[in-house]
Symmetry: C2
Amino acid sequence: MTDGAGNLKHLSLGEVHDLAFNCLVANGCDDANAQAVADNMTAAERDGSESHGLFRLPGYVASLQSGKADGKANPQAEDVAPGVVRVDARNGFAPLAFEAGRKPLVAKAKAQGIAVLGIVRTFHFAALWPEVEALAREGLVAFACTSTMPFAAPAGGSKALFGTDPVAFAWPRPDGHPVVVDMATTAMARGEVMLAAREGHDVPLGVGLDGDGQPTRDPKAILEDGVMLPFGGYKGSAISMMVELFAGALIGEVFSFQAGEADNRDGGPSRGGELILAIDPARMGGDGDGIALGEALFEKMLDAGAAPGAVRLPGDRRYGNREKTPRDGVAIPGALYDRILALVGGPA
Amino acid sequence: MTDGAGNLKHLSLGEVHDLAFNCLVANGCDDANAQAVADNMTAAERDGSESHGLFRLPGYVASLQSGKADGKANPQAEDVAPGVVRVDARNGFAPLAFEAGRKPLVAKAKAQGIAVLGIVRTFHFAALWPEVEALAREGLVAFACTSTMPFAAPAGGSKALFGTDPVAFAWPRPDGHPVVVDMATTAMARGEVMLAAREGHDVPLGVGLDGDGQPTRDPKAILEDGVMLPFGGYKGSAISMMVELFAGALIGEVFSFQAGEADNRDGGPSRGGELILAIDPARMGGDGDGIALGEALFEKMLDAGAAPGAVRLPGDRRYGNREKTPRDGVAIPGALYDRILALVGGPA
């Protein structure tokens, strides 16, 4: 079923979307949920974020098959305060839950100047940048974060407590794509550590500890009985803690360690929360031209390297891929493609 | 004027406050500004944050003497949107500007669920934790950031662009002190690099680059013609960029590099902006007990080390000092004390 060249399957973005949509529907999603997840996954493939593309589909399906996630969930947005929207995802996946909260969040941010969206009872298994990019395209400055599973020890510790706890940030630009940050607050994304283990590569010191709590370069030791570490020592650890509190306690949701305790280990995402902030730069007072002012910083950043290209703006690599993949399509591992085809056959 | 023991001058906290207040008034502050800055500086000495205590006083005075900062500024809060307060500090120091914005910010956060305070045309030369701790003591979750001067290169670059760009975060606790983070987003605070240079110590790799853009452990090479670096590589660099945008363009203020261009190099602070977010956990929906939920995370953090005390909660070291200094007083370098006494004599 796959071509011979490096055992890769070439797909157009339309084929990626169809594959994801059909597979999700075959495994219990209604059309609305399947569409939202497939859109998100296709956007990831389009941007070269392979770790959040079709690679995630078996995990989504596992959580549907085990009954942990509800593929027919109808997320409900609630107006809980003038600056606050809350979405009860009703055990559904995050993409549709975000869609339910997006319009009220944008309306509130534009009316109040700043607003926050808390999504609870959701399964977030996707990249974070789609949320903040969507808000930036409406002219808003956006920040998002979500907790995950207990993979990382706080700085100074050796017991898993924090998740990979990604944060995302987006800033609109007057012409062109928003500047978009999306990063795990662990030193390395978990998928990268898994990839290094699979391929037999070392990882840098600082990525994790072994089972004795000692620094190691061995990704298997980190994954098997060790822990990952936050990026940047105690400072990154403080950012992870902030994410846990924002996406957890602040909105009445669980922390990563509690998500881990409750999870059924089906290989899919764990239940948790997501917090999204949106700020309208036009409502901050002053001359209302805050977005245009950002350009001076970006220009200086691009000029701060010894050579052109040494410093890139966050998101630029993805935008580069976005130019190419609608024309060239994408290539996914043949084994993944075969696995997905089997899953499209329906639950085992 | 100083005792012999290690050339330290011992002062009670009351003496610290009097010294700061009198020195500021002698150099052109009105009582309100002198009081706000002296309160802030005394709180820093009380908490053992020496780098933000009396050590800063000569810099404040320099900016008053050069006419850059206005010691009689009367900061004005403006209600610019339901969720937004803007304070024009009118070229005054940040502590009084924050006081002008604090009550409206708290009122808006409690009414809207979330609110933001932008302070413009200010000189921020203090620790950031006093702002977020004050908000947490009113039951709010708080985040603050400010830009500084162009000291650090973005990841991949070698030209100074970002400031030390500190961020602060506070989370209230049902019993006891809030958990409070306050950290530069550079790998090391500038004061620490200066201290290492003065004492002839190396700094870790990753703190900065030399004049050729090469990694160095020599703090003098970093300070003289090199650059500092953000903490945690490109991830910390993205956080610095976010701070620049939040405390700069978003509120119509300058970036660190523009502050550096405009500064008169009097040794005092540069003009810039500060952004403060406040969120009311009681307005986030759910069962309204978000703050209490945080305790489970803090308990796990304290238990995540191989030994008790291996992991501490952010702010704990300062709170420990806060227990002792009201009784024991503080000790400052004799040379600093003598310098301040000379400044109390008035402008040269």
